[in-house]
């Protein structure tokens, strides 16, 4: 499959149509302290030949996994998840590696997926990190450089079978249960629950140790009020990890496309001699249909920052 491209900078506030049916508009790697978020809405991808094209760039194993999903909708979102990962990473054209089909992946010791860069031994692997999350209605991929990342997306109005508080009592920390229990409006309580869930998931995924590596009950995510600047910050306290390690992580929480919450957790860096100050990270969000159109949606109604 030929992949053509023009050397074009993907500026924000632009909608960019791929210049041919198999091209990906290239983009520069995110800078230090910058996060890129790409998402696809499965409902907007209906073209059968496009879906076939996507299937074609997957590895045989990935294809098999997609076909094993039970139900068309599940197959589609599984297909789009792998497509999004491959096409997104391919855009960054590290060492001219632009073919999404040629990317190889492996899992770290705890099962977290990462790119298995196919370079010769004397090249250092690029410091690109990614993490993916998908629901049946939205698939998202976050990308950073030099920083671990975990993301989680959930439908805002996703139904749960148990009550918020019984769920929280089983899985959340004491502080979080108290926080949720203090909310009197059940609808607000449910929304806050979903937000908290995505933040906790994003943290665990950023750590990359799997669900049992950081059991939900062993850490608290809370919203800190900064009395000087009156800005809210999301922080994590852990019973197991010392403070220096938990202060290593920063969070953003967004509302995407008016329908989903997206939580992003990334590693902070020792930005200055004063230690790990809270330097705001730049987040850029694109809505995409790979090979068809990319639309930068940061600053539009499609992306509402709740925290971060």
């Amino acid at each position: 499959m030929r992949i053509g491209f023009t050397k074009m900078k993907l500026d924000c506030y632009q909608r960019t149509f791929a210049h041919s049916s198999s091209s990906l508009t290239p983009i520069q790697l995110p800078a230090h302290l910058e996060t890129h978020l790409w998402y696809v809405k499965p409902s907007e991808v209906k073209n059968e030949s496009l879906l076939k094209q996507y299937l074609d760039i997957l590895s045989p194993r990935e294809r098999e996994n997609v076909m094993q999903m039970r139900g068309e909708e599940l197959r589609k979102s599984a297909l789009l998840a792998r497509t999004l990962v491959r096409t997104t990473i391919a855009r960054y054209q590290i060492n001219s590696q632009i073919n999404p089909r040629s990317l190889k992946f492996r899992k770290n010791i705890h099962g977290k997926p990462e790119v298995d860069w196919q370079f010769s031994n004397d090249s250092l692997p690029p410091p690109l990190h990614f993490n993916i999350s998908h629901t049946s209605s939205l698939v998202a991929c976050g990308v950073t450089v030099d920083s671990q990342i975990g993301i989680d997306v959930e439908e805002k109005h996703r139904s749960i079978k148990h009550t918020v508080l019984s769920f929280a009592r089983r899985y959340f920390s004491k502080h979080e249960i108290q926080f949720l229990a203090s909310i009197t409006d059940p609808q607000v309580q449910k929304l806050e629950f979903i937000k908290l869930w995505t933040l906790k998931e994003a943290y665990v995924k950023a750590l990359g140790k799997g669900f049992s590596g950081a059991p939900f009950k062993t850490f608290t995510i809370r919203f800190k009020e900064d009395s000087i600047h009156q800005a809210s910050e999301i922080v994590v306290d852990s019973f197991d990890e010392p403070t220096e390690l938990t202060s290593n992580w920063q969070f953003s929480l967004l509302e995407l496309a008016n329908s989903h919450y997206a939580a992003i957790c990334t590693e902070k860096h020792a930005a200055s001699a004063e230690g790990k100050r809270n330097v705001p990270t730049k987040l850029t969000v694109w809505k995409t249909i790979p090979f068809v159109v990319d639309e930068c949606v940061s600053g539009t109604d499609a992306v509402k920052t709740i925290y971060g």
Partner: protein, 134 residues
């Protein structure tokens, strides 16, 4: 395969398929049910022990809970071999399923064990292991 001589046993799940090879090494056993009893399940005093994979009853209960959690259509086949992932369970569904199983069977599942469950059969086997310990 366990046979119930007296009253018919009816399951609330629509379909519940258990392969014969899941019940090998059948020895003498005692049937015990923790959790809710259902009027439709009149089990006579038949005593035998299953020393291997989970009892079909357990698998069926797991299937039932999974079906409800994932709101699966009636024609979606779910068996012991079905993986939660291919049925469409995401992480939130999975923890709710674990909660459902804990409630149904009166057990407590640790995070490490929960993480290793990928199929319906895995869940049923874990449940039986935990029930044995009680």
């Amino acid at each position: 395969m366990a046979s119930f001589a007296a009253s018919p046993v009816s399951f609330s799940a629509v379909s519940c398929t258990v392969k014969p090879n899941q019940v090998s090494n059948l020895r003498r056993a005692s049937l015990s049910f923790s959790g809710k009893s259902s009027p439709s399940r009149r089990i006579p005093a038949l005593r035998f022990r299953v020393a291997c994979s989970a009892k079909p009853e357990t698998v069926c209960k797991v299937v039932d809970i999974v079906r409800k959690q994932l709101a699966l259509p009636d024609d979606r086949d779910v068996s012991g071999e079905s993986t939660f992932a291919t049925l469409g369970a995401d992480s939130l569904d999975t923890v709710e399923i674990v909660m459902g199983l804990e409630e149904e069977f009166g057990i407590s599942v640790e995070e490490e064990s929960a993480q290793s469950i990928t199929t319906v059969q895995d869940a049923a086997d874990l449940i039986e292991k935990l029930l044995e310990k009680k």
